[in-house]
Subunit: 454 residues, 4 copies
């Protein structure tokens, strides 16, 4: 058995390719599928099957393209109106070389959620691993709120049943391979560790020790945010994404060309780090560093093209690939030569003032700054700076009115990355006296400054 994990950075998406005796299958492929074809070729194997774990809301599925190239069959769970692929029966079995794959219908995160248990017929009749999709993560379970608050309890119950009725009975010694890792929005608190088993999860996953009632209550109480791009994503994934089915080649733009595109209203994504964005940027840009690039979905419709400001060719490649995986099919281009090319030609610059926690404490004594905490609800609930205002960053554009004018505004998150994005939203809206707190709550805590809870 040959096995490889393929990780996609910004949405912490984990997909898998497995082969035995010249036959291969892929679980939950991403939109740009060359990687699977190359791995299979390196193994001398043909991809025969693609197994979907569910429709997916946060990235575009590449199954149609992968099937076109390789001739593989696409399989998905029942419960949603997929326009392509074949609908699985619960318990349906597939032979791939010496391996056996058994599909398990485990709705909860999505009505069509499916897990896949893998058996190695060379050694015995027990499963050795299971692909758990967004049903079970290392340290967490999937969200159950996508069908709306009225259905969350019902879906949570189904999720509980799937985990306890179908997954855990596979046995403690079964290795777990989920569809997301640390940092995904599809689970609240996925572990940074990617190696686990059903036994380890049963023993240490805080959600798995609860009774069915406790589990549902906990899930109903969760407050998740849903990026507006998810809606389009669901459509793409059920019906097939727009063409072309390959990564865009963003044109290299000179400053004059970049300026012309900007003048037509094309939005700018600047992926440089927060200190760089703070130091100097093109007015009107969004600050979206690589680790938080998926937040673009809150402010730029995925049907649109965007302009890119990046550090180097590697950063460009990262941005183009990851935006494409989120559904941005085309690119308006990038600023060739980076920001230096822009300012060497005498073009204007904007900046975000940088604050440190020490500086903020000083400022608090005199200037009464408004601290806006843009983290998730679950983070806010664990403790925040006194008198801070909580507005989740994705909601900032519609809730700007809640931030009082005439006082310095200090944007704050966990470390200073999301707050850089938040600061860029405020600047774009014309606000002045805007600070980004570098270090965020992490630094605040390290310094022993006080936190309060609501």
């Amino acid at each position: 058995m040959l096995f490889q994990t393929v990780k996609s950075e910004i949405v912490s998406h984990l997909s898998y390719i497995v082969a035995s005796k010249g036959e291969a299958f892929v679980v939950a492929p991403r939109r740009d599928t060359d990687v699977y074809v190359e791995i299979a070729q390196g193994w001398g194997a043909q991809i025969k099957h693609v197994f979907e774990t569910h429709r997916n809301e946060d990235y575009v599925i590449g199954s149609i393209e992968l099937a076109r190239i390789t001739g593989a069959k696409v399989h998905h769970g029942s419960g949603l109106p997929w326009k392509y692929g074949e609908t699985l029966r619960d318990g349906e079995e597939f032979k791939v070389g010496l391996l056996k794959v058994v599909a398990l219908h485990t709705p909860g995160h999505s009505p069509d959620s499916s897990c896949y248990a893998l058996y190695d017929s060379e050694v015995g009749d027990k499963p050795v691993l299971v692909f758990t999709g967004d049903t079970l993560f290392v340290g967490d379970v999937g969200r159950t709120d996508f069908l709306g608050p009225e259905n969350t309890a019902m879906m949570s119950g189904k999720l509980y049943d799937g985990i306890h009725g179908k997954l855990l009975p596979l046995g403690d010694g079964v290795v777990v391979f989920p569809a997301h890792g640390f940092g995904s929005v599809c689970g609240g608190s996925i572990s940074e560790r990617e190696i686990s088993t059903l036994g380890a999860e049963r023993a240490m996953n805080p959600m798995l020790g609860l009774t069915r009632e406790e589990f549902i209550e906990r899930k109903v109480g969760e407050r998740h945010e849903t990026s507006p791009y998810f809606k389009m994503m669901e459509k793409y994934n059920l019906e097939g994404p727009p063409t072309p089915a390959h990564l865009p080649t963003p044109p290299a733009l000179k400053p004059s060309e970049f300026k012309a595109a900007k003048a037509k209203g094309t939005q700018i994504i600047d992926t440089r780090a927060p200190p760089a964005f703070g130091g100097a940027h093109i007015e009107g840009s969004y600050s979206l560093p690589p680790t938080r690039l998926s937040n673009a979905g809150w402010v730029i419709p995925i049907e649109n093209e965007a302009l890119l400001v990046v550090d180097d060719a590697k950063a460009l490649d990262f941005a183009v690939k990851n935006l494409y995986r989120m559904g941005y099919t085309r690119s308006a281009g990038y600023l060739a030569g980076g920001l230096e090319a822009w300012y060497k030609e005498g073009n204007g610059l904007a900046k975000v003032d940088i604050a440190t926690c020490q500086g903020l404490r000083e400022m608090m004594k005199t200037e009464k700054p408004v601290v806006v905490d843009v983290r998730r609800y679950s983070e806010w609930d664990e403790g925040h700076i006194e008198d801070a205002v909580h507005i989740y960053l994705g909601r900032l554009p519609e809730r700007l009115g809640e931030i009082p004018e005439g006082r310095p505004v200090v944007l704050q998150c966990k470390t200073g990355t999301r707050s850089s994005f938040a600061a860029s939203i405020l600047l774009k809206a014309g606000r002045k006296n805007v600070y980004n707190l570098l270090g965020g709550i992490d630094a605040w805590k390290k310094l022993g400054y006080p936190l309060v809870k609501d």
Copy 2:
């Protein structure tokens, strides 16, 4: 000025990408064009122009695809009915950043042959380099026989006039960048060295010291071979090649699948080295090692798919890319796991007996072997083994009747690679007692054995 040569192995094709101030141009791009787009992106430059040196006979041009991706304009010389791109005026000028490109119409190799002189306006008004296409090579000049023997003298005269009237006057200190290097069939004896100037060629290229009459006489006297795939190539290049405009993904075939495809008549290309092919191969395969893969054009129509037997993933990649560049748009697949997978399943094997020069000399004393020399005319003319028969390898299939039966046949070329292909042609035709002379004429000479000339 940024400058990069892009070399394609099997047809020794040299293409170029040059940039200045964010603008770039490409000279004579190959069919798979990602490389130019990636280089331009790394430089932060946009490809604005594609300059063709001529229609080309031995590889497929990638200009249409490159123009589609980048928006570049395609330019070609006058004299042939191109169905795309723009026709150049002799002397037409282009500004690319701080560079100036001047087109020179230099028919001779082809009616539309063009050279391009490059000026660096930062430093002065003299040309610094010239792209010479198939007009002038390092150590040789282009073939002039493509319009048929009745036109060779006329085309040779034009070539002479272009070189002496347009190229050499640019000045000795102009660096030469031709479209082919060592090993190309587009020039008889191109130097292995790739660095030269008009001055060095004027002084040392044996063709450039001749008078016009001598030059024409020499060119008319040359005997070149024209692979049958050239005809289709010309059509592709004037009209645009077949889609898809990207490299094929050959399916990984199990021995049983490979055997089924073979049974339908699909031809097999085995790119392993001659000793390996000699040791064991699948019956009916053509022996086409990487350095001589372009000889596939003699036996397999480029509209067809072929099956591949290769050493490893790198060799597969090489074969697929280079066959695609020659015009083979699709691939029937490759034997996954290589020849070992084939024989592990108990499938039959064929072999070619290996001869050494020492062995051949012994054999000559007793068995009267037929030595068939399959080299080019120009190589044969420089000396050959006594009593050898000369049949150029591409002509073997139609001239098999000239090889007497009932005696051992020893195929011979320069080193043993082309003769491995030749041996595979004979075996395919049912001949027995076929040897490949490893070492060829090179070894024969090293050993001091006698050569004769006709």
Copy 3:
């Protein structure tokens, strides 16, 4: 937690690097240690500890060099006279970032064998994975014969106690990371699959369902072969390997230089595939293709240098690295330009006749060939060709006299790779009429030909 497996090909050695919060540790590093340093650097982590699983017999440990570069501490189990590093107490604990490593003394394969259980303190107090060294493999357990037949029963009992008393009690849901994978000589029948858990092994590893008595009996009954290079390896690993502590740079030799080195008695390793070796090779070479390169240890003392004949730069790199890992510290050089360079200069060639199973059956009707089966005892015991002679390949040089002269000798293994090595040993000894059976027992079985058991 960041985790990466580093695999070394020829001895199927698996080593590991793990990090948390900027601190890292390595388990069982190989001799060329750059890879660990680069991974750690990519993670922004410092290697603080190196954990040895045991002395090792089949590859050279890189711990001294790794410690020198990084300042890491080396830890090993008790029971052998290590001249460097620190001796562990059973149960000794180490904190690495948020992780806890607990050393478990599990003698049996070697007196100092140690396993390491890993706990993730972020999530709980159960181990999540265990490094099992050569104590427990996927599908097998370690050899117990290294202390000689008189101690095998005793060591087997210890191994049983370690597995059942220390490993399995960690819990079914603990992922297993052994020091060897499929193909290692340190376990007889390690699974090709590399993913497993204590639960999966408990349920499906054939050795784990036995009673202590059955286990010991089974282990005592095993017949393993011990390559002579193991002895030197043990010395290197207890005392530190010879310098230099970096990969050799083999000189590129022209045929004349290669010949001169050969004339001085330097042995030649030819890593090309069996059909290529069969087709043509330099007289006196050993046929040692990449997958079986470790068999060099049977015929060339590791203090010696060897000459290399390889396909290309990648094959050269593979050979040099893997020989270095086995203990060959220096290289005499490689034939630049490969075998083609050799025969182009008119140098002589030798060959091995290739046999197929069909051909062998025909031959058996008339010529009474001697079939020599060179596989391991355990393979031979599962069935062999009637009237075949069994001589394990490593024993061939000393048992040549058992092979009758005057008849064709057909060397046979599983697929034709080891038998190519065996054939080269016979040729070197001056035997004539030597065949290599391509396809081996695998092909024989596929064709439905009969097998017998002793």
Copy 4:
């Protein structure tokens, strides 16, 4: 003939490796020599000779190590007390495969300066290219001031004689391969274009049209800056550099470890771009972006170790390699996790205010800022901002007193990169109200703002 240029970024150093028939030579190798060994191995060639173009002042020579690994002989010109290698006779010839190398003694830049003409004996008796070291560049000639002002005229005369007496007579059609490209401090105005010939230089290099007297006068009038690290470099290159002869492995430091090293006085090099350094940096750091990293030689003795703050693993690798090539043999480590790791722990930050040209013009109306132009003399002489003070950046530490206090100080160079370094020097010296002009003179000119000349 096989030929490859090896470029080292920060000092724009060009070295070369050339091979023919299995033999190779290297011209002017850099300190980390793996690249030459790998190229030679890929070509199947042995490096037989290393040719030095001169002692070198700006980077460390790798010849001793390269000779140790490959057995190559090192050759250098006469006139300096080299402690290794062999001293060339003017006109000495070497055969390398089919090539002939002729050494030309051309003192001027350095007493031992040597050029190497290359002849391809396959084609004729004219040279095809020449390695010109620091004697002749594309668009410029070498500096002649290293022996002190009293010797500049004499050395300039020698340089003139070497160029006109030995190089140009080789012929217009000889390709030029110098030891430095665009951006080197060894020539004032080397062209960005790297392709040239003796003919093109004769026609267009502004220094080559001068008479001997004009040439000497011009050279004597040049004002070059000499970084203090050059002295040590000369010693290293004549005597051999300190060991170890391989790249350092900088330890990954946690913020606390980094802080401890800083507290001991270890200097910090921050290679992030000027906007990022301006936005936030660790107090006391030097701003040394990759393109200007060699300026480290002005402030940090090369015997010292430095601490690094970089964007990512690629930037770390760049910094370590290029500092090593300059002579920094060891590294104190880098801030693991980058600046984010630093501020997440609540550590303090400093910043540089960013100015644009528009902003500076506004500021000039009210605040009387001191504009400090830190460019080279030759740049300053071409025009500067009115009332600006000229202090070459390397001289800033010793001339800080010339900058009036109490007013804003705006550092200015060509684009904003060197002025970021200059700003960091002022901040380190305790100056407040320090601005970096992003865009520099380039932007100033683009905006049409006035320049004055002295």
